[in-house]
Symmetry: C2
Subunit: 414 residues, 2 copies
């Protein structure tokens, strides 16, 4: 009567999914639109940073050897022959006890090899004295000390965050090559679903999974096409799924993947001739999560239960989309934390619990059932409890996956 | 000769800044545009979740007391009188050993108080038998078990992330009230600055701070107005700053805040009649960070050194903007981590080091000077070493602030 499915471990399921990713094309975007995109070219230093020897302080550029022997009893005098700010280049070439008054960021004049800070001098009209000797290159930012010319500073496949934008700007990348976004579709299935704007009626609930997934995509900077709501009717649903799969790189459906009488996704995958990678994962929630591939397109069949749907997206959809964009860091960041309250349930399968992590402790975010929604809203992380374990106690160290972090981890650590 | 400024502790500086925030107005946005906005109304449950007693499994709804005494030797029979999926409501009222075939998410029929899962039955044509008794409410998702009607599930001031979008959708928030974005301007000062698209010339560097700050704002979902580049000329700069301050809620300048001969921001603040909150912070990099307020508008004078500028934004600008939007979680998330390499420098002031954090260990991201840019590109966090300490050793536990995390911490933990 009941179809028996063989559950596979989460790590194996994740690997099966990302193995199917095909690399998307790239495009060029203006630097100011590049935040949160995946870099599709390495950032190569077109020049050294700093591009010239420069002063890191406001002060006086001198020739260090002429400060030799300076002391409190033997103050040495330098004559000020020029005065430049950052952005200016002194036309003077220093000799002997000459100095140039120089501001932070300005290039050292010819022959200068040290900078005396203002507070290290006693200044008078046109000259100053110092009471200590300066070493060659003292208080100098050397050309190339931060980045050498020709160095690959950041590899392709990294997410462009503000620090990378700064680097791109430094090297004159007014435009930058990034991965195109995948075209992602969302179809929420289930006769029980109402649109968010509809009033509640007996037996029905509003569709929360569709908007939630759209927001999970928005967090990644990825737009989506919405295919609305589909009732539990095989032929109608097949037509929508077929069209959506044609129009997208990745179709995410919610609901209809279990073994109920109106769960039509398995039949639709079969009719599409899709390659079903798995239809049961040894995890709670979301054991019915099904992933298939048809004509190179991903078909993610997430559970209709909100917590299961949410977790399925973060564990499977997110790394797949990142892999398609050539990203190097596919996985949610992992850490360890101290469980802040007992969790008594046994864990026949790997359990993912919506949780609140504060940088040290972690505790379940609330009601923990696959159909719960409040705990998704309250959580910022997932506690991961291995399958085959009994309950955990307050004070135990547990694995935690962090949500809502810009860039993830290159390794799956569970 | 040199102006002496009194440094104030970082925590005091942060507090001084956020104390000046005035609350922005609110606006209503469609749910699908609400990601990353700050919620300006509490989310109140307009109905219980689940909205009705429902089945969490595919199976049969029964009256539990009629299963009393069932065992392997005494299988009890139930007759199937109806068949419903999620979204349907059975018109049957159960009595005696009647059962309704019911799918996950469907409401329990009248009088039913337990659900038998398919795998707990032997099914025949029109009936099934069970071998164990069921307790009242066994396998039932109770109305309101996740959220009770009227409950405030999420307070105003939280960031809208995907889990909150799911909750908003559940309760029919087709639109949601959020804080308006502050109007933020960016002005990069310094005669040495070239635009990103200009070729390098002697003594000059490209403006990396402006695009970087725009990306730091983009990460928060906040657009900005760019006031371009300003050379180190007092009158010209004054005019631009004055106009920009009039047109924005918050003007961020880079450069010009130190005590150099061409650092005109202090004079501009004075001419504007601005209230300078501080002009020296006991931190490295970024000790010259200056924050002023004029006519209720923030004037952030960040250092022109990229690392100092970056850090100044994250420590001061970010919480101020969040506070203006009524956010509850203003600060970068904090954790502790194991230092993965020696850091030998002394720390006269609190030191913020761009770093790579992997969930357990943390190490400096590279070259550590205030004018470095590569380490901003490589880092995902800031190591914080307290002022007044000597070097730290590999294996020491250190404070870490995490960058690029969607929602921060409600408390400043340093």
């Amino acid at each position: 009567m009941v179809e028996h499915r063989k559950p596979i471990p989460v790590s194996e399921a994740v690997q099966k999914v990302i193995d199917q990713a095909h690399l998307l094309e790239t495009e060029t975007v203006p630097l100011e639109q590049s935040y949160n995109r995946i870099l599709a070219e390495p950032i190569v230093a077109g020049h050294p940073v700093p591009p010239f020897d420069r002063s890191p302080y406001d002060g006086f550029a001198i020739i260090s050897k002429h400060s030799s022997g300076a002391s409190g009893d033997n103050r040495i005098r330098f004559d000020i022959v020029d005065h430049i700010g950052a952005g200016a280049v002194s036309e003077k070439t220093l000799s002997g006890n000459q100095a140039v008054r120089i501001m932070t960021g300005a290039p050292l004049p010819e022959n200068a090899d040290a900078v005396v800070m203002f507070e290290q001098t006693v200044e008078s009209d046109g000259f100053f004295t110092i009471r200590k000797p300066f070493k060659p290159l003292e208080n100098v930012s050397l050309q190339g000390e931060d980045v050498e010319q020709g160095e690959t500073v950041i590899e392709s496949g990294n997410l462009i965050h503000p620090g990378i934008v700064a680097l791109l700007a430094t090297f004159g990348y007014a435009t930058v090559r990034v991965a195109k976004h995948p075209v992602v579709g969302i179809l929420s299935t289930g006769t029980e679903l109402l649109d968010v704007s509809e009033p509640l009626v007996p037996g029905k609930i509003r569709n929360s999974n569709g908007p939630m997934i759209a927001a999970q995509l928005a967090r990644m900077g990825i737009p989506c096409k919405t295919y609305g709501l589909s009732v539990d009717n095989l032929d109608e649903s097949f037509d929508i799924v077929k069209r959506a799969a044609e129009e997208t790189d990745c179709l995410i459906t919610t609901g209809g993947v279990s073994v109920g009488d109106f769960d039509f996704l398995p039949a639709i995958y079969e009719r599409l001739g899709a390659n079903v990678l798995f239809n049961k994962v040894a995890m709670r929630p979301g054991s019915v999560t099904t992933v298939a591939v048809a004509d190179g397109k991903y078909l993610f069949g997430l559970s209709g239960n909100p917590s299961a749907c949410f977790t399925g997206f973060e564990l499977f959809v997110r790394p797949a989309l990142l892999k398609m964009m050539g990203a190097e860091k596919l996985y949610l960041p992992h850490t360890k934390a101290i469980l802040f309250e007992d969790f008594d349930k046994a864990n026949p399968f790997t359990r993912f619990i919506r949780a609140v992590y504060d940088g040290h402790n972690v505790k379940p975010a609330g009601f923990n059932k696959s159909n719960a929604v409040a705990s998704i809203a309250k959580g910022n992380s997932l506690i991961v409890l291995p399958g085959g374990t009994r309950g955990f106690k307050k004070g135990d160290t547990v694995d935690v996956l962090l949500l809502g972090v810009e860039e993830g981890s290159a390794a799956w650590k569970l």
